[in-house]
Each structure stands twice: as structure tokens, then as C-alpha cells.
Amino acid sequence: MAASEDRKNGEVANGAALASFLGAGIGAFAVGVMVILSEAGLFVVPTLYAPAGGVSSRTTSAALIWVIGWAVLHSRWKGRQIESRRVHAVTMLLIGLGVLLTFPPVWKLL
């Protein structure tokens, strides 16, 4: 079912794959942004589970952004052939920034 959905002119369209890759990049970046906003005191999501503290809300919010971002991209790109090089580059950039923003030495630069 999924395979035939992705098939276009005999080729398997890459849209759904790129949507999942870029979605993961958005999720990674969202984790970093949630952390840096919280550390800077600019935006703190209310704690979801008190025993775990703020990490429960930061990570859950980022996971929600990831799922929504992926779902939107998937609905728009599935069955389409997308030029992959730029998507790959943006995905890597978002992952890199996301990881970087979770590093405490970066917070000290604020």
C-alpha cells in the first residue's frame, strides 16, 4: 500500500523518506531550542511531571513539535520526488544546531 503510494512513473518517490529525515532534524532542533530558551529564562514550559522536573516538559514539547512537523511534511511530500541534497543539508544543520544547543558550555555564552 505504502510502496504503491510512493511509486511515480515506475520510480519510488523519495518524499516520505525526506519528510521523516527533515522531521527528525526539526525535532532535534526543537530539543535544543527548548533547552536554550529554558536556560535563558525566556520561555519555560510548565512542568508535566513534577518528580522529573522541567526536563519532562522540555522534551515532551520538543517531541510534539517533531511529530507535528513530520506529519505536516509527510502529508505534503508523500508520493512526490523531492530534490534531496538541500533537504539532507538542512536536516544535518538542524541536527547539529539541536545537539549544540543542548551543551551546557553553549548556555554560558548567553
Binding site: 510502496a3 533547552v35 520538543a62
Partner: protein, 180 residues
């Protein structure tokens, strides 16, 4: 002999770090090797279809293991780790965060190591899920399409490095202030 060999907290720590996190690391190694060794141009080959099915199962297992690692770590292991001890308590062995922060030589394990451990594994789980989705939806195409394969390999390699790094930090923390 009523002495318990392991407490519940200790068992959950082992499930988190060794069974789930360690299992994910082994799975990531196998998946990275498979993506490299099983690349093929002929997706109609029966062997390639079997290999791609196995790879799909492997990547799904990695993603499940990482999500369980993350959820167990955040919601089961982390609360007792960060619990606040009663005022004036001298023996902090049951309060790992406070124990770490009581010694200037180990403060970095909280301010650097644990802060990273709280967030980075969630990124790894998202990356692994993306690759698992692609390996299930595209199956043998993953082994024949160079671009899909290279991006999947890159994400799994990043995932491996992140999990390896946070696992190492977890070992450091557990050596100094084990959750017992």
C-alpha cells in the same frame, strides 16, 4: 540472609543503561555494518529482500529500545536521582545529585554530564525513528538507492555517537553516585 542483592532503583538503572541503552548501541553497530555491507543494485534479488526485511526489523528494534531507554531514564531513573535530601542529612548516598554537587571535584557530572544526558538521548531516539520508518516503508529501496542509504547511514552514525557519548557519561555518574 534477607539482604537484597539489588534494589529496584539499581535494577531499573541496569535496565536503562545496559539492557536498553547497550542493546541499542549493539543494534546501531549491526545496522551501520548492514547498510554498508548489504548495498545492492538488484532489489528483485530474493537475498536482498530478506536482508532488507531483517534490516527493517533491526532499525525498528533500535528505535523501540532507544525510546524505552529515554522514557525509563526520564520518568523512572531521573526522579530518585534528583530527589532533594532532608535538611541536615550527612549521608547523601541515597541522593545522587546532591552527593555529586557536594564535592567540587564531581560537580561537573551534574552541570555537564547529566544536563547532556537529560536531552541528547531524545534527539537520538528521533533520528533512529526516522531511519526505522524509511527502512520499513522503502524496504529493499534502502539498500539500492545510494542517497537514501547514505542519509540513513549518516543519521544512524550520528545516533551511535550520541548514544555512545551519553552512555559514557552515564557510566561516569554511576561510578561516583550510583542509584541504589
Amino acid at each position: 540472609m534477607d539482604t537484597m542483592l539489588f534494589t529496584d532503583r539499581s535494577i531499573w538503572t541496569m535496565i536503562h543503561g545496559i539492557a536498553l541503552g547497550g542493546g541499542a548501541l549493539m543494534g546501531l553497530s549491526a545496522a551501520l555494518f548492514s547498510l554498508r555491507a548489504m548495498s545492492t543494485a538488484d532489489v528483485s534479488d530474493v537475498a536482498a529482500q530478506t536482508q532488507s526485511r531483517c534490516l527493517a526489523w533491526l532499525t525498528v528494534s533500535i528505535a523501540v529500545a532507544l525510546w524505552l531507554t529515554v522514557l525509563v531514564g526520564t520518568y523512572i531513573n531521573f526522579p530518585p536521582y534528583r530527589a532533594t535530601p532532608p535538611a541536615g542529612l550527612l549521608d547523601l548516598s541515597q541522593y545522587p545529585r546532591s552527593l555529586i554537587q557536594s564535592d567540587p571535584g564531581t560537580v561537573w557530572l551534574q552541570s555537564f554530564a547529566m544536563e547532556i544526558k537529560e536531552h541528547v538521548p531524545w534527539i537520538a531516539a528521533m533520528l533512529a525513528t526516522a531511519v526505522a520508518f524509511v527502512s520499513v516503508r522503502y524496504r529493499s529501496k534502502l539498500l539500492s538507492d545510494a542517497q537514501l542509504r547514505s542519509m540513513s547511514t549518516a543519521l544512524l552514525a550520528i545516533c551511535f555517537v550520541l548514544v555512545f557519548f551519553v552512555a559514557l557519561l552515564g557510566i561516569f555518574i554511576n561510578k561516583v553516585a550510583p542509584l541504589e
